[in-house]
């Protein structure tokens, strides 16, 4: 497969305006996503994962402020403080919402909502074609034809999630940003939705940006792993292997916090809380919670360092990278 960069960000920063100024949530983000790859953004709540996803899918609120550049499908969508998502948002890149209940209008049937989306993106289709295309989309996400005439409240949580995915696929996008598509589902449905997304990604040759805080789902679905902490990439690896052998202490602790089978040990946790945007500590953003912290971490922020098959933002790998 040709290595085509679909999403490329250069020194991207995103912040939200509030009364006292701008809280920068994401800073100096250099992210590259190749065509046809599943990229997982992993991190705790409040790390800026969703903000990155919203930026890629063009759904930043009007009070968002930016710097740097973001290129999606050869279009510069964010350049400095200017955003221009025309022709990209909703056509090339779509987002699957975190909460499908809020993405679907409760007063319209699934069919009506699908047809509206299809009519918008493919004007000139006859009513019959619109309907058959909608039914096709429903069967793609493994929903029966009867769902076409149902209202969202008549669907179960998993079905709603599938309907939201079908709605996102309607414009035939290139990139899908799935913002925690497995939240609030039980363990079985999580894997069902994840494997559905994986299957659709292969069949439609999509680029999938998968945002999750669930490492086990990430391990199951991803090709590329990006660990985000306090709005920065702390570890980036081109394969799920870095989920087996973590380099950054944050990912290491995240993996330790997963429940293990047959283990009688107390489940590990990461002490403290992720810092709030605008109140990030100096030096390495993770140093207050890091078990390996040393003096330099408190003073200076580490650069992204190449360590073996991956990129890590940690001083521990600095010496190693010099040699």
């Amino acid at each position: 497969m040709a290595l085509v960069l679909v999403v490329r960000s250069e020194e991207l920063g995103i912040g939200y305006e509030h009364d006292e100024g701008v809280a920068w949530v994401v800073e100096d983000l250099d992210l590259e996503v190749e065509h046809g790859v599943v990229t997982c953004l992993i991190g705790e709540s409040g790390c800026g994962k969703s903000t990155i996803g919203n930026a890629i899918s063009g759904l930043l609120p009007p009070y968002a402020r930016t710097y740097g550049r973001l290129v999606v499908a050869d279009r510069v969508v964010i350049d400095g403080d200017k955003m221009n998502f025309t022709g990209v948002r909703g056509k090339v890149v779509v987002r699957i919402a975190q909460d499908p209940a809020s993405a679907l209008n409760p007063y319209l049937t699934i069919g009506e909502q699908l047809s509206t989306a299809i009519r918008t993106h493919f004007p000139g289709l006859s009513e019959h074609d619109v309907r058959s295309k909608a039914l096709e989309l429903l069967s793609d996400v493994m929903l029966g034809e009867d769902v076409y005439d149902r209202y969202p409240h008549q669907l179960s949580g998993g079905m709603k999630r599938r309907a939201a995915i079908a709605l996102a696929l309607a414009p035939e996008p290139e990139v899908i940003v799935a913002d925690e598509p497995t939240s609030a589902l039980d363990a079985y449905l999580k894997y069902a939705v994840a494997s559905l997304l994986k299957k659709l990604q292969r069949e439609w040759e999509l680029t999938l940006v998968f945002i999750t805080h669930d490492v086990s789902i990430a391990r199951y679905i991803c090709d590329q792993v990006v660990v985000v902490y306090a709005g920065r990439i702390v570890e980036e690896g081109a394969s799920p292997r870095c989920l087996e052998s973590p380099s950054h202490p944050y990912l290491e602790l995240l993996l330790k916090a997963l429940p293990k089978r047959f283990s009688k040990d107390r489940l590990a946790d990461i002490p403290g809380m992720p810092p709030r945007p605008g109140m990030y500590p100096t030096g390495c953003k993770f140093h207050p919670r890091c078990p390996y912290v040393f003096e330099r971490c408190r003073q200076e922020e580490p650069p992204i360092i190449k360590a073996g098959d991956r990129l890590v933002r940690c001083w521990r790998y600095y010496e190693q990278s010099l040699t």
Binding site: T86, S102, A103, Y107
Partner: protein, 301 residues
């Protein structure tokens, strides 16, 4: 396309009404009386025995204050007009007026409320304050003011009532739209650059219409009473002593209460009937829609 969201709203309302019909005998009685009242009001001008007296154009002072008899079933008033004909005409006008007030306020309130919720923050704040200001305004005083300004016709009362009623609907729909505007199906079309009007018509409107109609249904009785109390207190103006209106008839009948109680009793009884029936109807629908309120009379004790 736009008829489709309305379909589910109509389904909502009809299912609510049938459910209330099944469960509540009070609702059944009041609905039947309401239908009778509306039919009588609609047919009033045609079945009135003395239409010209009903309208107030014809006065026959020689027949003043006659007691009920086969010729004048409800007697005559101080100007010799047939009370039954007067009541029939007045009923139609009152109900029609209250329907206009409720319908116009409902539409106006939904439009103002949902656009306010989507407007920029400064406009939102200003409009909310204005709505609250209008809520604080007593409708009777405003009606008196408008009666002076507009020359005291039935129109001025309708306008005054609309001005004081629509803020309630605007407030309720504003609050509901505020809850909706954080949801993705409202937010994302706006980010995509679709117009506010489209989002209001397609997404917000259908979602708040059904509860708003329920509010309106339960409010109609109060509007009839409000109209009547305004006309009772102020009349519809100096030049319209002939105009049939329940409130005015009660006010005029009071003068002859001792000599001719029937002049006062007939319109007052009709008013009481309207008030009771509409209130029972509205309460039943409202409580069925918000079941948590069913036991709210407990709060009185």
């Amino acid at each position: 396309m736009s008829s489709l969201p309305l379909r589910s709203t109509i389904e909502d309302i009809t299912s609510l009404l049938t459910r209330t019909w099944r469960k509540r005998p009070g609702f059944r009685v009041s609905l039947i009386i309401m239908i009778v009242l509306f039919t009588v009001a609609a047919l009033g001008p045609y079945i009135a025995p003395y239409p010209r007296q009903g309208l107030g154009v014809e006065i026959d002072v020689t027949n003043a204050l006659l007691p009920p008899s086969p010729k004048h079933i409800l007697g005559t008033d101080s100007l010799g007009r047939d009370v039954l004909s007067r009541v029939l005409f007045a009923l139609g006008r009152g109900l029609y007026q209250s329907l206009v007030v409720v319908a116009v306020s409902l539409v106006l309130g939904i439009v103002v409320g949902s656009f306010t919720a989507l407007a920029p923050r400064s406009i939102e704040a200003v409009v909310s304050y204005v709505i609250e200001l209008l809520l604080a305004l007593p409708s009777i005083l405003l009606a008196a003011l408008l009666a002076i300004l507009l020359g005291g016709t039935a129109t001025s009362i309708t306008v005054a009532l609309i001005v004081t009623w629509f803020p309630w609907y605007a407030r309720v729909s504003y609050l509901q739209a505020r809850g909706l505007r954080e949801l993705d199906f409202v937010r994302i079309p706006l980010y995509y650059g679709l117009s506010r009007a489209y989002v209001v018509v397609k997404h917000i409107g259908p979602n708040i219409l059904a509860p708003m109609i329920v509010e309106a249904l339960s409010d109609m009785g109060s509007v009839v009473l409000e109209i009547s109390s305004i006309t009772f207190l102020f009349g519809i103006g100096i030049g319209s002593f002939e105009e049939p209106d329940l409130g005015m008839m009660v006010a005029n009948g009071l003068r002859d209460l001792v000599r001719a109680p029937w002049v006062f009793t007939a319109p007052a009884a009709i008013l009481a009937l309207i008030a009771i029936v509409f209130t029972v109807f509205g309460e039943a629908v409202y409580e069925e829609h918000h079941p948590i309120l069913r036991r709210r009379w407990w709060l009185w004790f």
